[in-house]
Every structure is written in C-alpha cells, then in structure tokens.
C-alpha cells in the first residue's frame, strides 16, 4: 500500500497573528512554523497502518518553498519513508490541490491523506478538490480509518453524528481527532531522517483562482464588566436587559 500524506507548514498554535503594515501579508517575523496539527493525524495514522500491514511506504508531500524543509524532515523523523516538496509558495487551495493531484497521479498512490484543514488558511477545500481532479472518492472529515486489503472503513463526522463509509483504494481522506495519538520524533528517527530521500519538483498547472486582497484582525473587546460572585444572578439580568442575548 502506497500512502501519500500531504503536510502544510503553518504558524505554531500559540502564535499571535500579525500582518505586514499594508495588511497584505502575514508577518512571519519571529514566528515558529510547525506541521499543521490536523496533518499530524494523517501522518501518524498512515505510519500505523503501514506498520500493521507489515509492508508499504509512506511519502510526505509539501507544497512550499525551501524554508519548509525542517518540518518535512520532522515528518521523516516521525516515520515517513521519503518526501516530495513541490517548490512553490502555496497560492490558494486550488493551486495546492493541482500539485497534490499531479504528484498522486505520477506516483500511483493508493491512499492520499491530509488534515481536515490548515490552521492558517482554514480552507477545508483541498481534499475534495484532489478527489475530484483524480476522479476518486473523498471522505472528509474522517475521525477513524481502518484498512483491510484494498478496502477502507472510515467514520466521517457529520453535524450531530457520524457516518460509516466503506471505500476501495484509491481514495482521499482528510483526518481529524480522535483518529490516533500523533507521534513525536524519537532520537533514532531524527538520525535516520537526515538521509531519507527528499525530492524537489517544480509546480504545475493553472494559476490560483483566488487572491487575498487584505487581512484584518478581529475588533478588540471594550473591556470586561465584572459582577460580584455573591451576586451572580445579576449577570443573568444583564444578559437579558443590557446585552439582550437571552
């Protein structure tokens, strides 16, 4: 079984978001980048399934410029076998999906996994686009993934419940908790990751369909109005008469 795991390079979850003075770009100064937390579920589950089957390969794919390589090496240290970097800044979801679809087709991967969405762009789009480009099913967002031969059984989250879906390879799934416990690299993994193959390929396809004109931060709160704990019931009156939300 050939797994392709798509990882995105995103600001650490503790990052305080700031933009360049013209608000056109995210200000990367002093920001620590990590593997997108949702993608860690995809990566770990692919490695677990490979180990359980006793055969197969896990390839990580990132669309990004050379500065994403430390996180690609981290994915190799966690347990992926090799990596591909499409050498281009990720312009929008459509552009990224085109790159993934091209790599997936070229390498004839059986299972294409990624996180539910990236925590920076929050598109929640790439999985469906890749599935449609390749003409194969997408299961998104998946909370559970088990494989038996070429057949996968997944739990797909729907509002208020879940669906059990069975698909044959090849397919795309976007992953989220509680699929697995994401792994962290161990010392042996870090040592071996240095020599694992990382191939850099050029971007393909059409240009992006969407462009960001401007970023903005949410409006600041006016300040908190404190209510005495002894008189907590007063809060309910304020919520009805002042805030008018209940």
């Amino acid at each position: 079984m050939k797994f392709l795991v798509c990882i995105s390079n995103v600001p650490d979850t503790t990052t305080k978001i700031a933009f360049t003075p013209d608000n056109k770009e995210f200000n990367k100064a002093g920001v620590q980048f990590v593997i997108n937390p949702w993608d860690e579920y995809a990566l770990t589950r692919a490695i677990e399934l490979k180990e359980a089957a006793g055969s197969g390969t896990v390839t990580v794919l990132n669309v990004g410029e050379a500065d994403t390589e430390p996180n690609i090496r981290k994915a190799l240290a966690i347990g992926a076998d090799d990596a591909i970097r499409v050498n281009a800044a990720p312009q929008d979801a459509y552009f990224v999906a085109e790159q993934i679809a091209a790599v997936a087709k070229e390498g004839a991967y059986d299972v294409i996994l990624m996180g539910k969405e990236s925590i920076d762009y929050n598109g929640f789009q790439v999985h469906g686009m890749v599935g449609e480009m390749l003409g194969i099913p997408t299961v998104a967002p998946a909370m559970k993934l088990d494989m038996s031969g070429n057949t996968a059984t997944l739990e797909r989250e729907i509002e208020g419940g879940k669906e059990i879906v069975t698909v044959n390879t090849p397919f795309v799934a976007s992953c989220q908790q509680p699929m697995c416990e994401p792994r962290i690299p161990n010392m042996r993994g870090i040592m071996t990751a240095r020599t694992k193959p990382l191939k850099v390929v050029p971007a393909v396809g059409e240009p992006a369909r969407t462009t960001v004109a401007e970023y903005a931060l949410p409006p600041k709160k006016q300040g908190v109005k404190l209510i005495d704990a002894e008189n907590a019931g007063e809060l309910i009156k304020l919520l009805r008469n002042e805030a008018k939300v209940i």
Binding site: P11, R156, E157, R209, K221, V224, V245
Partner: protein, 325 residues
C-alpha cells in the same frame, strides 16, 4: 444567470444554517439584479421548502430520490452541478458545514468555479471585483479574498449572517430529476449514527453555548454545566484538555484545533483562555467568563466576568435563569 442556494434538510426541517444561507443567497441575488433558486438536499419536506420564500427564495428544486436522504458526496455533487447548469447559476451559495465543504470543493473543480469557504459577510462587487470577507488563522483574523472567473462558490460560516423572515411569502417548489444512477451512490454510508444532543441543540449552530474547562475538575461535575445549558436552551461545549482526557466527547471541543463557533452568547466556566481556545470562540457576540483566578487571560477577551468558584456560581446562575422564565 441566477444564484443557486444549497439548502440542507434533516427530518423534514430546513437546517438553521441553511436558512441563513438562503437569506444570504437572496441578498446576493438582489445585489446582482437576479433571483435566487434553492436546491434541497437531505430529508426534505415540500411544505417546509415552500417556506423558504420567507428568506427571499423564488423557486426550490426538489429531487425526490429517496437515497438523497443521507449525505453521499458524489450524488450530492452531481445533483447540485446539474441544477447549476439548468439554472445557469453563476453564484452557488452553501453552508460552511461538513456537507457544504465536501460538496463545494468538488463542485469548484467540476464547474471550474472559484471557491471561498468560511465567509462571514455579503460580497462586495464594486470596481468589477468580487470580494468576500472570510475567517482565517482559525478565528484569529479575517481576510478579504478576490474570487476570479465567471463562476463562484461561497460557503457561509454558521451564525455569521442573520436569516431574514418575510412572513407569509412562499417559494415555488418544483420537482427536479438529476438522473442519478447507482454509480453515483457508490460512496453512500453503510450506517449513520446520530449522537444524543443535549436538548437537541447542535453545537455548531447553537446561539447560546455553555462551556467547561479543567476548572470543572472532572466529568462528574458536568451536571452543573448541563443544568445551566438546559435552563438557557443552550448547547454544551468544552476546552481541548477536557476532550483530550475524555471527560467530554471530541465533537464538543471548541478551539483552534476543534471547531470554531460564533454564538450570540458563550459562557466559559473554569477555562483559563489559552490563545488556541480564544481562536475558536472570539467571534461570539457576547462572552462571559467565570473563573476563580482573576489573572486568567480569558477575562481580557470577555464582555462580562465573575471572579469566583464555578461550583458556587453555576447553581446561582441556573436558579436566576429559572426565576427569570
């Protein structure tokens, strides 16, 4: 040229988020000088579909194929694509739900349309550009995105726009057949399992939310959260540490790596307010924080706060709500 709105139904009712989407679509149609047509998915009821006239929908397409009751990605995509071609829709509006995102992303490739998800406002169409405002950085920021091409798909974030109600207006419900075949249902679910929702209120769509963190000290104390939620008619939620240790199910986890919500009222009980948690809730209209630590960072993001022990405060709030009603 028209606007096509995808309305999700469950148990015969149009979902609340789809009423918002219908209203949004009708307003976009008015901006562009055209009309809005809806296509129904899920378990729909014709009488309820006709009521979409109240949100400004002129016509509703309804395919009575029984297998459309449950979400099937391929079948839904084909159904909506067929409707979009028939109606010559240039704009398709859907909810930023798990269904909307799954279908919208496939449709954007099939119909060669540009796609924006997580949209929070009506589009701006001045200067020949089509711009939408959407949430980014997991609730920590917004971005204005320009959509190119002559076909566009917009997925609207729940609770970010209000559904208008023009009482008494009705839409014309028309039967529609997308000629779906067995192959279109190949990825149909083998089983659908629904959770027991507290009071039947779905967290992503809830207007009022009561949420608990580690300060609740254990799952056995959640009755305090549930009692207040029940009295208010609110949904319950939790912070990441709480779902990580399985005090509460994962689908209740709000935050950067859980779900982001924007209810009218968010009451945080025993949650310190780490930046990752704030990201998931900071578009709530009113935030109330109850925490015994006056230095908890959440107070900086709150509208109202009580510095006190949640075990004392919560029963008082529940009693006050009951007294009010």
């Amino acid at each position: 040229m028209s606007v096509l709105v995808v309305v999700e139904c469950a148990d015969g009712e149009v979902k609340k988020s789809s009423l918002e989407v219908a209203s949004y679509g009708a307003q976009v149609a008015a901006q562009l000088g055209t009309t809005a047509t809806a296509i129904a998915v899920g378990e729909a009821n014709e009488a309820n579909l006709a009521k979409l006239g109240e949100q400004g929908i002129t016509k509703v397409l309804f395919d009575a194929e029984p297998r459309l009751k449950d979400f099937v990605n391929n079948a839904y995509t084909k159904l909506i694509a067929t409707a979009a071609e028939q109606e010559q829709a240039k704009i398709i509006v859907l909810a930023n739900s798990n269904i909307g995102a799954a279908v919208g992303s496939r449709l954007s490739v099939r119909l060669k349309a540009s796609l924006a998800t997580n949209v929070v406002e009506l589009p701006k169409t001045d200067g020949g550009q089509f711009t939408v405002k959407r949430g980014a950085f997991s609730g920590k920021a917004f971005s204005d995105v320009v959509l190119s091409g002559d076909r566009k798909i917009i997925a609207v974030k729940k609770n970010s726009t209000e559904a208008k109600h023009d009482a008494g207006k009705t839409a014309e419900v028309t039967s529609f057949a997308a000629q779906l075949s067995d192959a279109d249902f190949a990825d149909a679910p083998t089983q659908v399992v629904m959770q027991d929702q507290a009071g039947g209120i779905l967290l992503p769509e809830a207007e009022l939310v009561v949420s608990g963190g580690r300060g609740m000290k254990g799952p056995e104390n959640w009755n305090l959260i549930e009692d207040l939620a029940k009295a208010l008619g609110a949904a319950t939620a939790c912070s990441k540490p709480v779902s990580d240790v399985d005090w509460r199910p994962h689908h209740e986890h709000v935050g950067q790596t859980g779900i982001t919500i924007s209810p009218n009222l968010y009451i945080a009980c025993g949650i310190s307010g780490a930046i990752q948690h704030l990201a998931g809730v900071n578009s709530s209209k009113v935030i109330v924080v109850i925490n015994k630590d006056p230095e908890a960072p959440f107070f900086k993001a709150a509208d109202y706060g009580i510095v006190g022990d949640v075990f004392d405060v919560l029963p008082k709030l529940t009693a006050a709500v009951k007294a009010l009603n």
